[in-house]
Every structure is written in structure tokens, then in C-alpha cells.
């Protein structure tokens, strides 16, 4: 069960002809897949597309009714390879992942898929994790589409366009025998909007209507020489023209005319709203999309349609190409298309727009102003345009000038009570003993230890890659490097790329595997292996499975340590770092994701309270009078519930540490206080509800007796 329940959304997936769907973009895409008659869907979780997969996995009943096979793939390569079903069968399938990283992992299967080509529509929905809010390296997926000859859809960000282009994407794929990618930017995935629905359709072959026979042997469909040479030629000679024809025939790209027609703007579909609204701000468009400047919207960014480009540019002095990222693939192609057609329209692009980063409103606006300034089109009051831009800039800058300095950044951090935090407390304490050592970190919640108060980690090389990334480092370091990996990363590929490679090469590194039971950073999806038969995506990892897997691989040195035992964790780490025993040393840091645990406990405790059962609520506290105000405890923890308050002592100025009501009583504060010999201001509290009579009486007697001795002279 993932972090969020999609029960309400699943009902929206059932909407029929002519009804209105209101909701999130990524769920609209899910509905579009069902309307397109998919036979199978799959993918791997990651922002911003996790919800697509979560809702599919939770919508077991609906998927059963529609005969859709749903697969929670163990990584993106597994998802991409699944599209191989559409090579030999006329079935539509879609997979999804976070890009660029997921596309990297999937790229081997994608290359093979794109070479062989498909007869059933194959769609890859990638969450383009680019720009504000992104959590991965900044690259664009278009480069993959270009090198593999897959088509790339970059839809205008409104739900109706996105849904329409999913359906057309399948048709495009079938018309050109080519797998198609649809890139959705972060905000498009999380866009709340609405569209008119169609009836769901069942795929031609599905889990209910099965094919009696497999596809016959056809060597030409294998991506294996010599077929691959033929396929490479086919991509350009047959599939590309077919795709271009389909795009033109079905009007996938859009051209909006405008009265100032000596210039024009060509843009990626996903940037349309930003550009249009900047034109509005500059007085060159209204709020409903009517622009004075002609616009050409590339809802398909690969392949481009030369005829559309030349027609749009022909009578214009200059066009501006608005394309995110470098190199400027689209701008270069447009230049080539125009040169070949001998059209002299001047092409602006990266010369007036930023080379890197998301095209925010501010960047687009300054690009537009520069473009108009350079091209000086008739019909535009240049001074007016410049005034409007300057006014906007001034009003925001003059306001922020009131602030002495911007606030420091507030990056995400470990949740209250997170089981991974104590591991980093232990590492920080061990560093005080052994000095600094190399830490290879990874993707997952534990990467939050790169922020304060831990500020740890020498490298991040990808999901499950930490151990592999430390392989060479170990050879020239006196101290062993420590690699940190989540259980998600371990099952995603860390076991092969990291553990097996270490063993094969007699590596001597230390590996910490965070075993919290879920893919926590992406919304607590279950992890493989699925040991309980609870439908797609497993029923949760059982403790011990990672250890069993490691034993099977012949890892000799394995310790499973409860994470909250900071002392044991530090001792175990010290042993791993200093032992003479050669070979890989693995510490399985065991502790269930606290968000998941609390969600479960809340339910269990509420039930128990209602039925009169005994419930113990733990939490921690601090005696303000004893706190030194040094905050060493915070530097070892960073827990959101461990905060500071004004010092109640009128003589002292330093704020004192304090634990707020969000504390879940994980016990780390007490552990750290002991292990690091912090001040004795911490205390643990257990409040007992529905206690039995004996316990209540004992407590009363104790309180009475203690009351006789308590010192009335001391402050509370």
C-alpha cells in the first residue's frame, strides 16, 4: 500500500462518454491510457509520475474488468523491456518512469525496441524531472528520442491536450511502427484541471481475451544482425516519413496566426502557457490565447515536419525558437530545414534565451523583449513592450529590497522519527573517532544526509550505484570507504552493480543498506521480493530477505543492526572499518519507515482505544533548565520535532533545545544523549491510556510518595 490512497481517483477512471474528469494531470494520463485500449501498463516509481503507477496498482478491480495487465516493474529497464510485447503483437502498452534517470536505466531495452519497431502502439510516459522541484541531474529526454529514433511528444500543458495526445500517440506509434515517448514536465504532472472523458476501451488482446497462438517466428523483428542493418535504414526511409505524414494529417502540431506576421515564435508544446502568458503581460496577447504574434506549437518535438516549418517561416523576417536545454537540437534542425529550402528567415533562439535551466516566465520574457528588439517587427510598440517588462521587474525587485538578506535554504530532511537518521548520527560520531572517511552515497531518502546537520557524502552516481562508485576509491585510500544504499536501490540494481561486482573483484568496502521496507522517497511503494500474495507490487518485504540474498551471494561479513541503537551501530561500523577480515562488509540498518509505521499505529491504537485496550504513547522531552544551549543534540539529529525555544532562564541568552508535540518517541534523542555524552536534560515519557486498575493505583501511590520528597524550592 503506497503512502497515498487513490480510492477516489479510481472512481474517476471509470467515467464514461462525455463526462467531466477533474483532477491531477498524471491521473488524467492514466484515464487516457484506459480510453486508448491498452492491454498492459507498467513502470517504476519516481517523482513526478509515481501516482500513475500507484493508482494503477491500487485499481486492481477496474484493471481486471478491462483486462489490463499491470506490472510494478523492479526497475525501468524491466519496464522498457516489457514494451517488447508490442513488437510482435497488435497490443497497446504503456510504461512510465522518472526521466532522465529512468530513461538512462531503460536505454538498452529502448534501443533494441526502437530498432525492431512495433506493430502495437507503444508509449513511454516520462516525467521530465527538469527545473524547479527536480531531484535529479538536469538533462532532457529529447536526446534519447533523437539517437534511438523514437518520437517525442511534448504536449501543451492542459489536460485536454495531454489526454488527446496520449490517444494520438498510440496511433502515431502504430502508423509509423515506432515507440513513442511523451514527456511531461513536473508541473504538468501535478496540474489540477479538467477534461471531457470518453468510454474506456479494452485492448484487442487482454487478460480475458487471450491469443490462442504466439506470433510466428520472424527474424526481421529481432534486433539482431543482420536484421539491425535493415532496421536502421527503415527508421529513416519508412518510419520517419510515415510519422511525419501522420502528424500533418492529424494536426498534432498547431499554428496560431496573428496580425504581426513578419515575425513568429516556434516553441515546444510544454512551454506554450508560459510563452502565451508572457505575451499577455507584454500586451501582445489576451488571456484566451489570441496572440498578435503568429505561433507554431510543436506538440511533437521529434520528428519535426519540414513542410510545417517552412510554411510558417516563409514570409517572416525572423522567428524565435523557444526550446529548453542544450544543445539546441530543435533550433539546429530548423536552421537546416530553412537552409535546405533556401528560406532566409533569421532564426533566433539561444542567442536571446538562457543556455541552461527551466524556461521560467522571467527568462522567456527577457528573451521575447530581446527578440523584438533585434527583429523590430512592424506593429509592435517596442517602447511599450520594454516598459511593461521593466515595470514587472521593478515591482518585484523594489519589494524584495526591503529584506536585508534572503532566508537560508530549507531543503527537505528526514521525517520526525526516521529510522535512517540514527545511522548518520552513528557515522558522525565515528568520524569524531577515526577522522573523516569517504562516503559514497546514493538515491533515496538517505541522500537527505547530504544536507545539514550531517552534510555527508562524496559522490552520488545514480540509484543503487553507491557501492560500485566506491570501488576504485578503495584502492587508493588508507581508510575503507563507506557506501550507503537504500533497500529500494539494492533491489533496483545495487545487488548486481555493487555487491556482485565487489565480490567478484574481492573488494574490501563497507556497505550500509537501509532496510526500511518501502521505496520511501517516492511514496512508500512495496519492494520486491514479494513474499505475500497481495496482488501486484507485492505485499511488503519481509525482514531478512536482503540478508538471505546476500548470504546466497556468499557475502561473509553481514550484521543486521536495529538503527535506533546508535551505540551498537557505531560499534558495528567501527568494526567494519577496522577489522582485518578481508572482503565486503555489509551492515543492514534495520528500521521500518516511520511514516508508514505511524500510519499503521494510528489505526491500531485508535481501534484499541475504542475497545478499551491499553495504549502507550511514547515521546521525549527536555528539561530547559538543564539544557546547555549548545545544541550539540541538534547537530547530531536534525529531527523536525527537536527544535529551539527562548531560554526561560532570564540570565541566559542562548535558546534552549525543546521537543515539540510532533515527537513520536523513536528514542534517538536519548540514545544520542548517551552515546555522545550530551547533557542529561533528555527524558523519555510513556503516557498510558486505558490502564488497568492495578497500574493506575500503583501510579497514584508512587506520585503521592514522590510528592513528599519533591523539592518545592526548585522551579518546574
Amino acid at each position: 500500500m503506497s503512502e497515498r490512497s487513490f480510492a477516489g481517483e479510481i472512481e474517476k477512471l471509470r467515467l464514461g462518454e462525455g463526462e467531466t474528469f477533474s483532477g491531477e494531470g498524471i491521473l488524467a494520463i492514466t484515464k487516457a491510457l484506459l480510453q486508448s485500449g491498452v492491454s498492459y501498463v507498467g513502470g517504476y516509481q519516481g517523482a513526478p509520475i509515481s501516482h500513475l503507477l500507484d493508482v494503477m496498482v491500487q485499481a486492481k478491480d477496474l484493471m481486471g474488468e478491462l483486462g489490463v495487465h499491470v506490472e510494478a516493474n523492479t526497475n525501468e529497464a524491466s519496464a522498457a523491456a516489457m514494451l517488447g510485447a508490442s513488437i510482435s503483437y497488435r497490443v497497446r502498452g504503456a510504461v512510465t518512469w522518472k526521466s532522465i534517470v529512468g530513461t538512462n536505466v531503460a536505454s538498452d531495452a529502448l534501443s533494441n525496441l526502437a530498432s525492431a519497431g512495433v506493430i502495437g502502439g507503444a508509449l513511454v510516459i516520462v516525467g521530465e524531472d527538469y527545473g524547479e522541484g527536480a531531484s535529479v541531474i538536469q538533462e532532457r529526454t529529447l536526446a534519447f528520442a533523437l539517437k534511438s529514433s523514437m518520437w517525442m511528444i511534448d504536449p501543451r500543458p492542459n489536460l485536454a491536450s495531454m489526454v488527446d495526445l496520449v490517444e494520438k500517440g498510440f496511433e502515431l506509434s502504430e502508423a509509423s511502427s515506432t515507440p513513442v515517448m511523451m514527456g511531461l514536465r513536473i508541473r504538468a504532472c501535478h496540474l489540477m484541471g479538467s477534461f471531457e472523458t470518453k468510454k474506456n476501451r479494452m485492448g484487442t488482446l487482454n487478460t480475458k481475451d487471450k491469443a490462442p497462438e504466439p506470433a510466428g517466428f520472424n527474424y526481421a523483428r529481432l534486433s539482431h544482425p543482420p536484421a539491425t542493418f535493415v532496421q536502421e535504414a527503415k527508421k529513416i526511409d519508412q518510419r520517419l516519413p510515415a510519422a511525419v505524414q501522420y502528424i500533418v494529417d492529424h494536426g498534432l502540431n498547431e499554428t496560431f496566426p496573428g496580425p504581426v506576421d513578419t515575425v513568429g515564435i516556434i516553441m515546444q508544446g510544454g512551454l506554450y502557457n508560459t510563452v502565451l502568458r508572457r505575451l499577455t503581460a507584454l500586451g501582445l496577447a489576451d488571456d484566451f490565447g489570441n496572440s498578435q504574434i503568429p505561433l507554431h506549437i510543436l506538440n511533437v518535438t521529434h520528428p519535426l515536419v519540414p513542410k510545417e516549418i517552412t510554411e510558417f517561416c516563409q514570409s517572416k523576417m525572423a522567428v524565435l525558437v523557444i526550446e529548453e536545454g542544450s544543445p539546441e537540437f530543435i533550433e539546429q534542425q530548423i536552421n537546416t530545414i530553412l537552409r535546405r529550402a533556401d528560406i532566409q528567415t533569421k532564426v533566433f533562439g539561444k542567442d536571446v534565451l538562457a543556455n541552461a535551466g527551466e524556461y521560467t516566465a522571467e527568462i522567456v520574457m527577457s528573451g521575447l523583449v530581446d527578440f523584438f528588439g533585434e527583429s523590430e517587427p512592424v506593429g509592435i510598440m517596442l517602447e511599450d513592450v520594454r516598459d511593461r517588462a521593466a515595470r514587472l521587474l521593478n515591482s518585484s525587485q523594489s519589494a524584495s529590497a526591503h529584506l536585508a538578506a534572503p532566508p537560508p535554504p530549507r531543503p527537505p530532511g528526514f521525517c520526525t522519527g526516521c529510522p535512517e537518521r540514527p545511522v548518520f548520527s552513528a557515522i558522525k560520531l565515528l568520524k569524531q573517532e577515526l577522522g573523516d572517511f569517504h562516503i559514497a552515497t546514493d538515491i533515496g531518502c538517505h541522500a537527505l544526509a547530504t544536507f545539514e546537520p550531517f552534510s555527508m557524502g562524496n559522490s552520488i552516481l545514480g540509484y543503487g550505484m553507491s557501492l560500485a562508485s566506491a570501488a576504485a576509491v578503495a584502492s587508493f585510500q588508507e581508510k575503507r570507504p563507506i557506501a550507503i544504499m537504500g533497500d529500494g536501490g539494492f533491489w533496483h540494481n545495487g545487488m548486481q552493480t555493487g555487491v556482485l561486482s565487489q565480490l567478484f573483484n574481492h573488494g574490501d568496502a563497507v556497505l550500509i543498506i537501509m532496510q526500511n521496507g518501502y521505496a520511501s522517497a517516492t511514496g512508500q511503494q512495496y519492494l520486491p521480493p514479494a513474499t505475500t500474495p497481495d496482488g501486484v507490487g507485492g505485499g511488503g518485504t519481509q525482514a531478512g530477505e536482503i540478508e538471505a540474498a546476500l548470504r546466497a551471494l556468499h557475502v561473509k561479513w553481514i550484521r543486521t543492526v536495529r538503527t535506533y541503537g546508535v551505540n551498537t551501530m557505531r560499534d558495528t561500523l567501527r568494526e567494519a572499518m577496522t577489522t582485518d577480515k578481508p572482503g565486503l562488509k555489509v551492515i543492514i540498518a534495520d528500521g521500518e519507515c516511520m511514516l508508514a509505521r505511524q500510519r499503521r499505529l494510528r489505526r491500531v491504537n485508535a481501534e484499541r482505544l475504542n475497545t478499551g485496550g491499553r495504549v502507550v504513547a511514547p515521546r521525549f522531552g527536555i528539561d530547559a533548565e538543564i539544557c546547555t544551549g549548545d545544541h550539540a543534540c541538534i547537530r547530531l539529529s536534525g529531527c523536525p520535532s527537536l527544535t529551539v525555544i527562548d531560554n526561560p532562564d532570564p540570565l541566559k541568552r542562548d535558546p534552549v533545545a525543546s521537543i515539540d508535540s510532533s515527537c513520536v518517541g523513536c528514542g534517538l534523542c536519548g540514545e544520542n544523549a548517551h552515546v555522545a555524552s550530551l547533557c542529561p536534560s533528555f527524558y523519555g515519557v510513556e503516557r498510558v491510556q486505558n490502564a488497568k486498575l492495578v497500574e493506575r493505583l500503583t501510579d497514584r501511590v508512587r506520585r503521592r510518595v514522590i510528592g513528599w520528597f519533591a523539592d518545592a524550592d526548585q522551579p518546574a
Binding site: M192, D287, P407, F682
Partner: protein
């Protein structure tokens, strides 16, 4: 072409992950649906949902758009925000720094409570941003502003901050949505409806005319006779009347001199003379009101049992502190020689809600008669006298520097490693900057006071002492 009057209303919500900013966004979207206004909303939650700063952005077109579908922006734009909502004060200032609050357009609604960032909390002393400065900047920047402590209001009334914010947004009327639609949206979400409606109603009562004072609750120690009397009472409790008299005697020579020096000495002397040791900790832990305070924090009902476990871990130093000086030195020498200083300690979990557990602490607290015979006492009294002598001597040479020596004492605090580190930094600064002047080795320097201050701040910059070393070397 475009008329400014029909442009979409833009709303930006700044929140911390897990605070319910997404729910607030959904309520507004739903209310707009009920009002049949075109609406669009986006967010970039990502991993920021894990306590990081995040934002939610909404655009809506007040009035039905006559079947025309407006093109709405997916991102907030600098200078184009109509309603800026922030559930926390520093996040409001982040919005201001980002250009999302402008004086010609933005109505600001922000909660003034603070959720401190790790960078603020982890400082070795005071590291928090000044809330007053941020508040003043916000008030100057927005077209209108409603600043109030929504977190306190929420806590007092058992409701969520986001529901209060929704009410306050509704009250501005800037969205053009009737109140009934907001209420409808809360009802449709189907979760905690009653509490959220109550929060909404509370929010409706808040406007920029509300009485929302921000009293600085922090007491300030002034060296008037009252403050000295406070300190004296503190010393009586800590030890006895004789010890309190010693405080008066030590303070007396300064009271006729520079008032700033006198105030600093009065304050720091009281702190140093009530130094932290095991006995003082025990005294605090057996205080009469302590259990009631803890029960209140935990929300325990009168009849409910509650157990408290106190964490103690005395090490060699803390135990030696209590021994007679000669024995303590032998003990410390042994520990240093055998490298046992930081290895030997006695982790104790004491259940102070059991009679036996409580009595253990009580017995420790009763050891206060022994304190003057302990090693630590001797050490502290010597150090205090040296400190006072240094201030007095410097007072004749450089009053500014004397003030800074008095303040330097603030580095010494706590127990164990914290105390040792503070003492180490204190001595380092004394040796490097102050002693040479006092002994006449070096001539008085015009920047001495500033140098001592800089060194003290550097000592608080990092626990490794790297900044202090760099600072002292630069001199």
C-alpha cells in the same frame, strides 16, 4: 485585446512539506469548481514533501469565462501574485526574496510562527533569524498584509493551520468566490470536516484590522537591584546564604564602575557561580512542579499513569568533579594515562516516576553540602577569581576590552565535552589576546575589544574550533 480587469487571479501558497498546503490548494480549486470559475493549480512537491520548503500555485478566472477557456500559467511569476499565502514566517520572507510579493498588487496572508531551519537550530548559540526584521520587511512590501500566529490559533482551537488560512483568504474577497463554496469544498473533501469548518470560521474573523500584537516575551536581565536580588536567590537555592553573600562581595567592586561591565559581570557571575554539575541536575530533576509539567506536555489526563525515564551518563570527568581535589586529580591522571577519559562512563536510565528511582536522584540532590569540598568547586572558584581579576585590570586600561572579557564567560557552559570545549576556547582567547596585554608583554591595541568579540563569535561558529584558530591566526 486584453483588458487588465479580466485577468486571472493568481494565488501562491508557500508551505513546508507535510503541513497541508496541498489540501489548502485542493480546497480552493474545489471552491472555484463549485463557483464554476475556470481554475488551474500546480505544485512541485517532489521530495520537498519531507519537511522542505514547497509552493503551490493557483490561477482562477473570477466570473464565468463565457465558454472561453483562458490560458493559465503553470508557474508563479515575479510581480504577478495577487494573493500570497504563507504558513510560516521565514517562508513568507522567501517569497519576498523571490519577487512574489509586490506593493502594487499582492495581498499577503502569513502566519508569523516560526518553524526553524536546521541551519538556525544547529548553531552553538543563538542562530535564529530575527522575526521582527522579517515582519517589518513584509509589512512594507505588500499592498496589504495580514500577519498573525495561525499555529498558535490552531493549537488553541484544535484545528489545522490550512483551514484557518482558507478562512482568511475567503475574507479578503479577492478570489470572488462566495463563502458557501469554500464551505462546500471543505465538506466535499470528506476528511475532518467539522474541525476544518471550525478553522475556516476562525480564519474568517481575521483581517488586517485584527488586534494581532506580537509581544516580545523574552525577559531581559538588567543589573538593577532586583536583578541582583534574583541572582542572590538563585545562589541560595543552589548552595546557601553564605555563598550568596560571596556573590555580593565579588560583584561589589564592579558596581561603582562602568555600568555595562557591571551588568555583564552580574549576569555571568551568577551563571558561573551556579555552574552545572551532577548535583544541580539532580536538584532540577526533583523539582516539585516537574512531573506536572511533563504530564501537561504529554497531554496525560489526571488518572492516567505516566512514566518518565531520565537519561544520565556521568563520565570520568563528572565523577572526578565531585571527588576531593587530591583524589580527583589522581583519578583524572589515571584516566588520561590509560586513555580512559572518554571511554569510561556510566550510562544510567533512571525511572524517576518510581519511588526508588526518584529517591536515587533525590539523594544526589541532597549532596549539595559536599559541593564546597569537591574538586570542581575549587577549580571554578579559582577560575572565577582569575576572570574577575582580568576584568578589573583591563578596566584600567581599556573599558571596551573589559566588557568583552566579561562577555567572554558566555563561552563556558554545560557539562562534559561541551564544558571542556567552551573552557578550551575561552582559555585560547585569553592566552592569545588578553594575557599579553595584562602582563605588559604587548602594548594595548586599539582594536582589542573588537578582536575579543570576533574571537568569541568565531568560537561559536563550529564545534571543531577551526574558525577560532583561523580568527586568532589572522590577528
Amino acid at each position: 485585446m486584453s483588458k487588465e480587469s479580466v485577468r486571472p487571479v493568481t494565488i501562491l501558497i508557500a508551505a513546508l512539506g507535510g503541513e497541508g498546503g496541498g489540501v489548502l490548494m485542493n480546497w480552493i480549486v474545489e471552491a472555484a469548481h463549485l463557483a464554476r470559475f475556470p481554475v488551474q493549480a500546480t505544485s512541485v512537491p517532489g521530495v520537498a514533501q519531507r519537511t522542505g520548503a514547497t509552493t503551490y500555485y493557483i490561477e482562477l478566472m473570477p466570473g464565468k469565462a463565457d465558454g472561453n477557456i483562458p490560458v493559465m500559467s503553470l508557474s508563479p511569476v515575479q510581480g504577478e501574485i495577487d494573493v500570497m499565502v504563507s504558513t510560516e514566517l521565514a517562508e513568507a520572507s522567501r517569497a519576498l526574496a523571490g519577487g512574489f510579493i509586490s506593493s502594487d498588487r499582492t495581498a499577503l496572508i502569513a502566519s508569523t510562527h516560526r518553524h526553524y531551519m536546521n541551519l538556525e537550530k544547529m548553531a552553538m548559540g543563538e542562530g535564529r533569524l530575527s522575526g521582527d526584521e522579517v515582519r517589518a520587511a513584509l509589512e512594507k512590501s505588500a499592498r496589504s498584509s495580514v500577519l498573525f500566529d495561525a499555529a498558535e490559533l490552531a493549537l488553541e482551537n484544535g484545528v489545522h493551520v490550512n483551514a484557518i488560512m482558507l478562512g482568511t483568504i475567503a475574507r479578503t474577497g479577492l478570489l470572488g468566490i462566495d463563502r458557501e463554496h469554500f464551505i462546500g469544498a471543505i465538506g466535499r473533501s470528506g476528511k475532518s470536516v467539522d474541525a476544518n469548518l471550525k478553522g475556516f470560521e476562525l480564519g474568517l474573523t481575521i483581517s488586517d484590522e485584527s488586534e494581532l500584537d506580537l509581544v516580545d516575551k523574552k525577559s531581559v536581565f538588567l543589573s538593577g537591584p532586583d536583578a541582583v536580588e534574583d541572582a542572590v536567590r538563585r545562589l541560595e537555592k543552589y548552595q546557601n546564604a553564605k555563598y550568596a553573600q560571596k556573590y555580593r562581595d565579588r560583584l561589589a567592586p564592579f558596581q561603582a564602575g562602568d555600568p555595562v561591565v557591571a551588568e555583564a559581570v552580574a549576569r555571568h557571575l551568577a551563571i558561573r557561580m551556579t555552574y552545572d554539575d551532577i548535583i544541580r541536575v539532580a536538584q532540577a530533576k526533583i523539582g516539585a512542579g516537574r512531573l506536572d509539567r511533563i504530564r501537561g506536555e504529554a497531554g496525560a489526563q489526571p488518572g492516567e499513569p505516566l512514566y518518565v525515564t531520565d537519561f544520565f551518563k556521568p563520565g570520568v570527568q563528572e565523577v572526578a568533579d565531585l571527588l576531593p581535589p587530591r583524589l580527583a586529580r589522581a583519578c583524572l591522571n589515571w584516566a588520561a594515562k590509560k586513555d580512559r577519559m572518554h571511554r569510561v562512563s556510566w550510562p544510567l536510565y533512571i525511572r524517576t516516576t518510581t519511588v526508588f528511582g526518584f529517591l536515587k536522584i533525590w539523594a544526589l540532590a541532597k549532596l549539595r553540602w559536599w559541593r564546597p569540598r569537591s574538586f570542581r568547586w575549587t577549580f571554578e572558584q579559582e577560575e572565577i577569581d582569575l576572570w574577575l581579576a582580568a576584568i578589573r585590570q583591563m578596566g584600567t586600561l581599556d573599558v571596551g576590552a573589559a566588557r568583552e572579557i566579561a562577555e567572554l564567560s558566555g563561552l563556558i557552559k554545560g557539562y562534559g565535552a561541551t564544558h571542556a570545549r567552551g573552557m578550551h576556547s575561552y582559555n585560547k582567547i585569553l592566552t592569545a589576546l588578553i594575557d599579553p596585554v595584562l602582563t605588559g608583554e604587548a602594548p594595548p591595541r586599539p582594536r582589542l575589544a573588537a578582536q575579543i568579540l570576533e574571537a568569541r563569535l568565531a568560537a561559536l561558529a563550529d564545534p571543531d574550533g577551526a574558525a577560532l584558530d583561523a580568527c586568532l591566526e589572522a590577528d
